[in-house]
Symmetry: C2
Subunit: 301 residues, 2 copies
């Protein structure tokens, strides 16, 4: 039971935070089944992404760190932050995602909601139920194309983002250890040069380490051996291109660094469990793909 | 599964609807147990009230009409609208309530969210889950006194009220039948003169009907015989005064039309299942009562 009374206050609006430019650009729900086609290393150059874990377990790599996630976790991917999903193969992982543009917090780069010294994984705890409901409502508003949904999704985003900024418990994270800096620099190099020909030899050299030492340390920090990480980065970019553009499969394969299309097809299939064509179809769907094409004409993601 | 894409739109804000003055003044949850102490005929002169039925069954009288309600129903009580709750004695009725001030829709009186020709009972249907979550969130924000909750509850109210205005299914209701008008006028007279000495004879005379005809028709329309309705109106006002002021029990009893305090105590107890003193304690609670007193100094409800 309970009656809760509430004091009135004349100055309830945050004076320095402007919400006017903020927009929802997409919202999606990924069910357990889609665990079978995970998304490899990718980032969103033009939007911030929020993700709420509804169930299952998995490992998410965000920037240079690995995070174990489960039900009730909320993940914040600042604009342009590389990330990578690995669902637990037995339990799977299901979640809501949404993309937000035009968030400008005072003194922060565009689309940065979480400061670098704060963990992007937030345990929503006793607020998990309401956080999930807010995602559910965002999804329902857009999926059903309800009247005035643009105004309502805007207000829901304000609630979500204010809860993240002011209410949900946040954890500090230490800066990377000195001895890991070279390896992180090397990973950053892969992230931006993945379409070039990269070898473990050259990468080890960049890190001033032996080949075996480099491969061992790399795996320890990032969860994958260097070669596999390069593949994940390429496949992740291919997924993004398949998903958000109508480039041909051949063009996608070239853009992510494969000269040989059948080799690309094999690598893709091994990772995602299906061909690039089928991936595009399954992820976008006949109906949504049309919508998406319309969207892309004006607003490439 | 599903990915839903969303078009961006530059003009998402309603130009003519100003939210700046709107405030949450209270939010409460009434559990099944509280069914035993129902609230009789009352109104909120200074705020609009929204109510979401979480479970159980009951009859609500709003203005001159009776509505059956159950899980998933959202009720809108425009500012100053008299209403009355009767829970099903077996199943009970449990719900969230919240009070809102400063809502001014273009071309409507202050605090009028639902036009008179529209039913104030809204079946939330497939949106019921999210509507309930929004109330739950409002309650959590205020109960836990979370940081920046004033801004967040404001945004949640915007979502709720926009959903009511633009999305939830609304039913038209016919104007009252010509032959019921005299009886409605008579009920309106009771509503505003309940503290005076009223007799069925005089009321029948006002309606140009025989005493038995009047009593029969009155019960048919409003659910209670006239005498019982007068008592409910008096007890409802007494509950409001006990709940929102610190007037003495004697003063409350005089204000609602009882010269004899022990007769008032008996009538109150018969209706609410407890004495006026205990009602005040149980409804407000030691902790909240303090808060409430503080609130009342500046903002009588």
């Amino acid at each position: 039971m309970g009656v809760v009374y509430y004091k009135q206050n004349k100055n309830i609006l945050e004076p320095h935070l402007s919400w006017d430019e903020m927009r929802l650009v997409y919202v999606s729900f990924n069910d357990r089944q889609e665990t079978l086609t995970p998304t490899a290393v990718h980032c969103h150059e033009k939007n911030l992404e929020l993700q709420y874990i509804c169930g299952g377990r998995g490992n998410l790599r965000i920037g240079s760190r690995l995070y174990e996630v489960q039900e009730g976790d909320l993940l914040v991917y600042n604009q342009g932050e590389l990330h990578d999903e690995s669902a637990d193969p037995e339990q799977g992982l299901w979640f809501y995602n949404c993309g937000v543009t035009g968030l400008n917090l005072p003194g922060r780069p565009e689309g940065e909601l979480i400061a670098p010294e704060t963990s992007p994984r937030i345990h929503a705890g006793e607020m998990a139920g309401v956080v999930e409901s807010l995602f559910k409502l965002l999804y329902a508003e857009v999926e059903r194309d309800l009247p005035k949904n643009e105004q309502i999704t805007h207000d829901i985003l304000r609630v979500l983002i204010s809860m993240i900024l002011y209410q949900l418990p946040k954890e500090c994270q230490l800066p990377p250890r000195e001895k890991d800096r070279l390896l992180i620099a090397c990973k950053d190099y892969i992230d931006s040069h993945f379409m070039e020909e990269l070898t473990v030899e050259k990468l080890a050299e960049r890190s001033h380490m032996s080949i075996s030492g480099f491969a061992h340390q790399f795996k320890k920090i990032f969860g994958f051996p260097p070669i596999q990480y390069i593949i994940r980065r390429r496949i992740g970019e291919a997924q993004r291109l398949l998903f958000t553009t109508d480039l041909s499969i051949t063009e996608v394969s070239v853009r992510v660094g494969y000269d040989n299309i059948s080799y690309f097809n094999n690598q893709f299939k091994r990772f995602a469990g299906m061909s690039p064509q089928n991936y595009r179809k399954s992820k976008v769907g006949a109906h949504q793909f049309k919508k998406l094409n319309k969207l892309l004409l004006h607003h490439p993601i």
